[in-house]
């Protein structure tokens, strides 16, 4: 009995220790909670985990500086993360928990169209704002106004990349391959339309593969047989891209390969190796050549939080920064009233803190969504060379 009591006391002490916040906390300091909702388990785990690690790394840096200033008061940033397992039902439950139980007004995520669309009613009813990484235009176009796209959409990057490849590399025809899921299929449809609009010949676009596929030889054989100048991997996950590239090269494909989604250099290097040389993808402010000192500091903290750097984080670092900086502009009322935040969106414009070069950072997307509902992440188009990404050119959504 006494032994059991000791065990219970130890467990209780452990629970108290775990529940206590990390680091020194000023008892007077207010806390601003930010939610992260996304896929953090299963084959697509890296998408949501990168969001979480980015938010946690940024929050740690901010809290170490004493918090984030909004209206003359410094707020300690607390990140509350929920794994939606890429399941719309779980995503809705997670969003409800964040907005009603945790009283959170600003949520980073979810990662795909299905989960992002599922939580729209929750966001609108609870008068909360979220920053999805899903490309469906319906999420950001009126009457919807509570979602802000956190990255460059494929239909924005695609035409820019295809145009570059057409003019600089002489690409004349193109094949598409997509994962058999809502987001990648939509991205393929948009990509095909963009390629046709540029006068490129689309030689194949019907090839898809199931989520969880590891052997891409059967499906890639069909695509390679078309012998297009360019193969576009539509909406490809970082886990699939190196295998698709390696398979294409093993099957004798000599042309170009590209995607409009962010990829990870280490994974490409490990899995595809030299086969990935020349692969073109969209990144964030992540390549060492264009990083500011502020970004370098973030990269170091990210490595501490996540164990290693992920190039995808170069895109996803923007969400929390934009939320907090817009809150600073909108004032303390916006912390609990997202309408105040929305009013500040058109006025928000700062020097991009993540880039060495002087570039403006603001909310964009009006030509696509009829309202500025997109973070103006710079469109950094990368090429994979000598085992790392090199910035090919920096474009803009506008």
């Amino acid at each position: 009995m006494r032994g059991l009591r000791t065990v219970l006391l130890v467990l209780l002490a452990g629970a108290v220790a775990l529940a206590a916040p990390n680091g020194p906390v000023n008892a007077e300091q207010k806390t601003l909670k930010i939610g992260v909702l996304g896929v953090m388990s299963g084959p697509a785990a890296s998408w949501g985990l990168v969001n979480r690690y980015c938010a946690e790394a940024s929050a740690q840096l901010i809290n170490e500086e004493g918090g984030w200033q909004i209206g003359g008061e410094k707020y300690r940033i607390e990140v509350v993360s929920i794994d939606d397992r890429n399941d719309p039902k779980v995503s809705v439950a997670g969003a409800e928990r964040l907005v009603y139980q945790e009283k959170i007004k600003y949520i980073i995520g979810p990662n795909v169209d299905t989960t992002a669309a599922a939580i729209v009613p929750v966001m609108e009813k609870a008068k909360a704002l979220n920053f999805p990484y899903a490309f469906s235009k319906a999420l950001y176009t009126p009457p919807r106004s509570n979602s802000i796209l956190g990255m460059i959409a494929s239909y924005q990057a695609g035409p820019v990349i295809y145009k570059y490849l057409k003019e600089q590399k002489g690409v004349r025809n193109v094949s598409f391959i997509a994962r058999n899921e809502s987001d990648p299929l939509n991205q393929r449809t948009e990509g095909v339309a963009a390629a046709k609009a540029l006068g490129l010949k689309v030689v194949s676009s019907e090839d898809t593969y199931e989520p969880g596929t590891t052997d891409f030889t059967p499906v890639m054989s069909r695509v390679v047989r078309q012998n297009a100048d360019l193969i576009v991997l539509s909406g490809v996950a970082p886990a699939d891209a190196p295998l698709l590239i390696r398979t294409a090269r093993e099957l004798g494909y000599k042309g170009l390969l590209s995607t409009e989604t962010a990829q990870d250099a280490k994974i490409l290097n490990e899995v595809a190796g030299k086969a990935a040389t020349g692969f073109i993808s969209v990144g964030g402010a992540s390549t060492p050549q264009i990083r500011s000192a502020y970004m370098d500091k973030f990269v170091q903290r990210y490595v501490k939080v996540a164990g290693e750097w992920n190039d995808e984080a170069g895109t996803k670092v923007y969400a929390l920064e934009m939320i907090l900086r817009t809150l600073s502009l909108a004032g303390p009322k916006a912390i609990s009233d997202v309408e105040e935040f929305k009013k500040a969106i058109p006025k928000f414009q700062i020097q991009n803190p993540f880039l060495k070069e002087a570039k403006m950072l603001k909310f964009v997307g009006a030509p696509y969504f009829s309202q500025p509902r997109q973070i103006g992440v710079p469109m950094v188009v990368n090429v994979f060379e000598d085992g790392k990404f090199k910035a090919l050119f920096i474009g803009s959504v506008e």
Binding site: S41, S46, D207, G252, E308
Partner: protein
């Protein structure tokens, strides 16, 4: 042995990660890394058998109990893999670089080596099951546990051996295929589902049935993807499987249920 191990895919993932760390990161000899993968995963399989399956099999006669337990262990391993190995895809350089051009087909040398190694392992396993005392004991347990026990077969010991061998083979598969397909913490479930489909086609409880199921699924997948664009291939495979199971629920080589 009356256990449908849904955690086989997760065991495969563990084997892949062990090989990745030993061969890919620490530069150990590939065969040594592969052997260590087999040993590590076998040890995990044995621990699971001793701690969970042995007790559940002793206290229940319902097959659903072990199926649920296996699904639970799969989820546990899935989550543990994500925590321990992280979210990223991991891969190692091909063991044998190069691609053979045979007629109009491109055959990567790594695949040829793995095909040969897999054939050797399948042959060794079939010989073990057919011609050794432990192999006969395992087959006897799979056919009729009570009769095997009455004949003096130590059920607990041989079931542990079966678990260990099954897990070790999953570890070897992971270690071999990480060189071709890489591995990530979430890769286990799709592998388990495919393994389940193979068993359904070939017949549960029959080693050669599982091999046949694998060959049938592999060919169906490859031919389907090559000739039919889009997502129709797996739709056809699954519809075909349903129709097949309506007429032959025990699979090609399995015993009729009950």
């Amino acid at each position: 042995m009356g256990v449908l191990n849904f955690a086989h895919g997760e065991m495969y993932v563990l084997g892949g990660f062990v090989t990745y760390y030993l061969y890919g990161l620490f530069g150990l000899n590939y065969l040594l890394a592969l052997t260590t993968s087999a040993g590590t995963v076998a040890a995990v399989g044995l621990v699971f058998e001793r701690l969970f399956f042995r007790r559940v099999l002793r206290i229940t006669t319902r097959e659903e109990s072990t199926m649920l337990l296996a699904a639970g262990t799969a989820l546990l391993l899935d989550s543990l893999a994500l925590v321990v190995f992280g979210e990223k895809q991991r891969g190692v350089p091909p063991i044998v670089p190069g691609v053979y051009h045979v007629l109009s087909a491109f055959v990567p040398a790594g695949r040829v080596l793995i095909f040969v190694l897999a054939l050797a392992l399948i042959s060794a396993f079939l010989l073990f099951m057919q011609h050794t005392r432990p192999g006969r004991a395992l087959r006897a347990i799979a056919q009729d546990k009570e009769a095997a026990a009455l004949m003096g077969v130590n059920i607990d010991r041989y079931r542990a051996l079966g678990f260990g061998i099954g897990a070790a083979l999953a570890g070897v598969a992971g270690g071999l295929l990480v060189t071709l397909f890489a591995v990530n913490a979430g890769a286990g479930t799709p592998i388990s589902i495919k393994a389940f489909i193979m068993i359904m086609i070939g017949g549960a409880g029959v080693v050669s049935g599982a091999i046949l199921g694998g060959v049938v699924l592999g060919f169906a997948e490859a031919i389907g993807y090559f000739f039919i664009p889009g997502s129709v291939t797996y739709l056809l495979i699954l519809v075909g499987l349903i129709v097949f199971l309506v007429f032959r629920p025990q699979g090609i080589m399995g015993r009729p249920w009950g």
